[in-house]
């Protein structure tokens, strides 16, 4: 689908009538219906994908994904199951009993509006229902109507709304215009986290078969083949071997990774996007070089070949199921601990959910770097270490030989990924690595980094092309902050530790700041690594000429 040009969209964002530009809708928000038209919604899951999940992924949980069927969001008949309203309300009741967060977040909001202009979707669209407070009100109004005394007695006067098809449409629209980035929750005086609201909203939508293909198909692939892309074991391996060929061409060094090897000390898991798609593959080349450089005894797995977890964007059952492979594989291979690659939502799952869902990992040992001897006590129970923690420790102990001049052809800024920033607190480890592998580094403005970082605009499974305009709008706050350092410091590289970012920020930069490239941190590490026995490097890992080698 052709998408509006950046200059026109820029005018629309800055001047078009929206709540961001001061135009207040004439109708109250509950009287503004959600209208689906091409470009403003992600395609529903294909019937066969839902059939797969119903029959193969969760035969034990009938109804978790509603009835497999074809349906069209633009139609006024979504082929919803008989009594779907009841299914939703029962589902809501069940979740109120399961999640204290939901109860508190439903009851405590005072609508102070501190969250309103913190959401990148609101900043880019000016759509009132993209203010986190209203996104939550879409669910809260139904909660009030059916689960509070005031709502039961006073109904609309108390802000209650019955569950109707119109409400369901709003849920589908706005719970898929939230990337669960948690920025609003930083600013909320009660810590109300819209990510929590959106997750539960999506769980409820699944119960009546309302879903999107861009999440459900990768989840199906991940269940069956081990990774989102559906790469089968030999293809997965072949892709990595191709990367090794490129490494050899660039450095003259042959790295020999192993796969599904029992008895390795460390199992390495990274998002599969790193293995097959630009610019993630350069990040993967960085990992390969680093592990070779330090002589790490590690293995890849084709069975647990996905770090990412689209279950996080589906429901907690799916998240647990997909995540379970990591420990299962670590146990089967008999490794001592697990090392995780660069990915945002993967690390949200690993840091805040994995041990609870699939632990205890008592068959593993507290991770200890075989190179430096550092014990990662912060991962004492989960037994999984982030590549940035691992690399920072190596650099601190002087165990890697680095030539940061190899990144002199770039001027870099740092994108904190939402999940690693606000659901983990990984902020300074990657910065430390960065400052050791490149000489030209500039921070974006303070309201746009660290815990205030802006999402790429396409997280939580929204990185699909049919909603490109929405993505470019939602990514604008990020792009705008990059533009700021590009204009002042000639920044031309946006580095991050997230696989979804690497894909989506690339589209975002192409659109708003066409001269800025996106890379993973480990690509910069790989560029800077001085390998034993290597030839003189003339290019970086993406075959771009190094500074002084342009001739």
């Amino acid at each position: 689908m052709a998408i509006i040009k950046a200059d026109k969209l820029g005018v629309s964002v800055a001047k078009g009538p929206s709540l961001m530009t001061g135009a207040v809708p004439k109708n109250d928000w509950w009287d503004v219906p959600a209208t689906f038209k091409p470009g403003n919604y992600a395609y529903p899951a294909k019937k066969e994908i839902i059939e797969y999940h119903t029959q193969k992924t969760f035969p034990s949980h009938p109804g978790l994904f509603g009835q497999p069927r074809d349906w069209d969001p633009e139609s006024d008949d979504w082929n919803l199951p008989e009594g779907w309203e009841k299914i939703i309300l029962n589902g809501l009741k069940e979740r109120l009993d399961k999640f204290r967060s939901l109860k508190i977040f439903m009851d405590c909001c005072v609508r102070c509006g501190a969250c309103a202009d913190k959401c990148h979707f609101f900043l880019g669209t000016g759509d009132p229902k993209n203010m986190p407070v209203l996104r939550a009100e879409l669910l809260r109004s139904v909660y009030r109507n059916d689960f509070t005394l005031g709502g039961k007695i006073l109904g609309k006067m108390a802000g209650g709304r019955p569950m109707t098809f119109g409400v369901l449409k709003e849920w589908f629209m706005y719970f898929y215009q939230c990337t669960e980035c948690r920025r609003c929750s930083v600013f909320c005086p009660y810590g109300i986290d819209t990510a929590e609201i959106t997750m539960i909203g999506r769980e409820l939508l699944h119960l009546v078969g309302v879903n999107i293909n861009w999440i459900m198909e990768p989840a199906a692939n991940s269940n069956r083949t081990g990774n989102h892309m559906g790469l089968q074991p030999h293809t997965f391996k072949d892709n990595i071997v191709y990367l090794c060929d490129d490494i050899e061409e660039i450095t003259g060094i042959r790295v020999e990774p192993t796969f599904n090897r029992k008895g390795a000390e460390v199992l390495f898991i990274t998002p599969s996007a790193d293995v097959f798609a630009e610019p993630g593959i350069y990040t993967a080349m960085g990992y390969l070089l680093l592990f070779h450089h330090i002589g790490l005894d590690y293995t890849w797995s084709t069975y647990a070949s996905e770090g990412g977890n689209f279950g996080l964007f589906t429901n907690n059952e799916m998240m647990k199921k997909l995540n379970g492979k990591m420990y299962a594989e670590a146990k089967r291979l008999g490794v001592k601990w697990i090392l995780g690659g660069e990915c945002g939502h993967m690390w949200r799952v690993l840091h805040q959910y994995m041990d609870t869902m699939n632990g205890p990992a008592d068959f593993l040992q507290v991770p200890t770097s075989p190179i430096t001897g550092t014990r990662f006590d912060n991962a004492a129970s989960t037994k999984m270490v982030h590549i940035s923690e691992f690399t920072a420790d190596l650099i601190k102990h002087g165990k890697v030989k680095l030539d940061p001049k190899r990144n002199d052809h770039r001027t870099v800024t740092w994108h904190d990924s939402c999940n690693t920033a606000r659901a983990m607190g990984l902020l300074d480890e990657p910065r430390y690595v960065m400052q050791n592998v490149c000489n030209n580094f500039h921070e974006m403005p303070e309201n746009t980094i660290r815990e205030s970082t802006f999402c790429c605009g396409s997280g939580t499974g929204l990185n699909t092309d049919e909603i490109m305009e929405l993505r470019m709008r939602a990514g604008l706050p990020r792009a705008n902050a990059v533009k700021y350092v590009r204009d002042r410091h000639a920044v031309d590289t946006l580095a991050c530790v997230c696989a979804i970012d690497r894909a989506t920020l690339t589209s975002l930069m192409n659109y708003w700041n066409p001269d800025v490239n996106v890379c993973g941190l480990s690509e910069l590490v790989g560029n800077a690594l001085v390998m034993e026995g290597e030839k003189e490097r003339e290019t970086g890992l993406r075959f771009e000429p190094l500074a002084g080698m342009e001739g």
Binding site: R100, P128, V186, Y190, T302, E317
Partner: protein, 332 residues
């Protein structure tokens, strides 16, 4: 209608209070029966709501990390905004509850031509929220003089501090003015900022009007109608000693309106957003330790029957490919 209806509701409450104060038995109803009832409902309601929340587990450890986590020993942790110990969480909660730390972070975003997004500091909401809550607290504590005999030292000290400017007789309390100004700010902000007006519900205006009504009747009682404090104290102290009595005809009707509105607030409280007072202590994104990789958090409803697609099943499907690709297999 979002503004008018709650306004009318508060006017109606005032009217009921005014009328009830004049009918036989009405004063005893408002001055004695209702306060007991309201206080019981308030305590019971808040306790019920808190227990109702507590009944649901916290299945996952989901703190919002707002700073550097506990990591390698040489990386400086932000021990308050990203706490890895109970002490850190206590510090975080103290700052949140007493100083509204998260609200202090507030910024205001603007979009300019370009497009260019700008984020400015915006502390007014924080400032007036602080003023509102603290002056409310001081006013409530000052009222303890009416319920206690002898008057506790801290109450006398508070009164003295609050009236240190020594203006007028009876002495003017700064908190009264600050309180009214803060309510006015919170109201005007709701009405004048377009996005806040758009999200506001009757349930947002009602407590503002109600609290405003309480403040105004209280101030009128003290400075304008000069209600008989001795008679009032006799009644209020009687309430605390469970020997309430009303000196007939000595207390001005404005007192009963004031009490009626306060009782309305107490009764309304547990059913409303005002429960944020208790909720802020229980918010899992704020009150949890960020140590989920160090200590296993237990989810009571974790379903052990959800198991990953097994390796055996995977190998069965792909064994030939794996063998051809030189990937080790379990079964040849």
């Amino acid at each position: 209608m979002r503004i008018l209806n709650p306004f009318i509701a508060v006017l109606a409450l005032i009217a009921v209070g005014l009328v009830a104060a004049q009918v036989p038995g009405g004063q005893a109803l408002i001055g004695i029966v209702l306060p007991y009832l309201a206080f019981a409902l308030f305590l019971g309601g808040v306790a019920y709501r808190v227990m109702h929340w507590a009944k649901s587990p916290v299945p996952f450890r989901i703190p919002t990390t707002c700073g550097q986590a506990n990591s390698l020993p040489w990386i400086k942790q932000n021990k308050i905004d990203c706490p890895s110990t109970r002490l850190g969480v206590i510090a975080r909660m103290i700052l949140e509850v007493f100083l509204f730390r998260s609200l202090f972070r507030n910024t205001k975003a603007e979009v300019h031509e370009g497009p260019k997004l700008v984020y400015g500091s915006s502390k007014f909401l924080w400032l007036f929220a602080i003023l509102f809550h603290y002056s409310f607290l001081v006013i409530v504590l000052r009222h303890m003089r009416l319920f206690m005999e002898p008057i506790p030292g801290f109450v006398a000290a508070l009164e003295f501090g609050d009236g240190f400017m020594q203006i007028g007789a009876p002495v003017f309390y700064q908190t009264n003015a600050i309180f009214l100004a803060a309510i006015a700010f919170l109201f005007l902000r709701r009405v004048m900022l377009s996005n806040i007006r758009y999200i506001s519900l009757p349930a947002d205006y009602f407590p503002l009007f109600l609290i405003f009504g309480i403040a105004v009747t209280g101030i009128l009682m003290r400075y304008v109608f000069r209600a008989d404090v001795v008679a009032i104290k006799q009644l209020t102290h009687g309430l605390t000693t469970f020997a309430p009595a009303i000196a007939a005809g000595q207390i001005s009707p404005i007192f009963f309106i004031h009490v009626f509105l306060v009782c309305a607030l107490l009764i309304y409280f547990p059913f409303s957003k005002l429960m944020h007072m208790a909720g802020v202590f229980m918010s899992p994104t704020r009150n949890m330790i960020n140590n989920s990789r160090m200590v296993r958090h237990i989810n009571p409803w974790n379903d052990p029957n959800i198991k990953p697609h097994s390796y055996a099943g995977y190998e069965d499907e792909f064994r030939e490919f794996m063998k051809e690709g030189g990937i080790p297999v379990e079964k040849e």
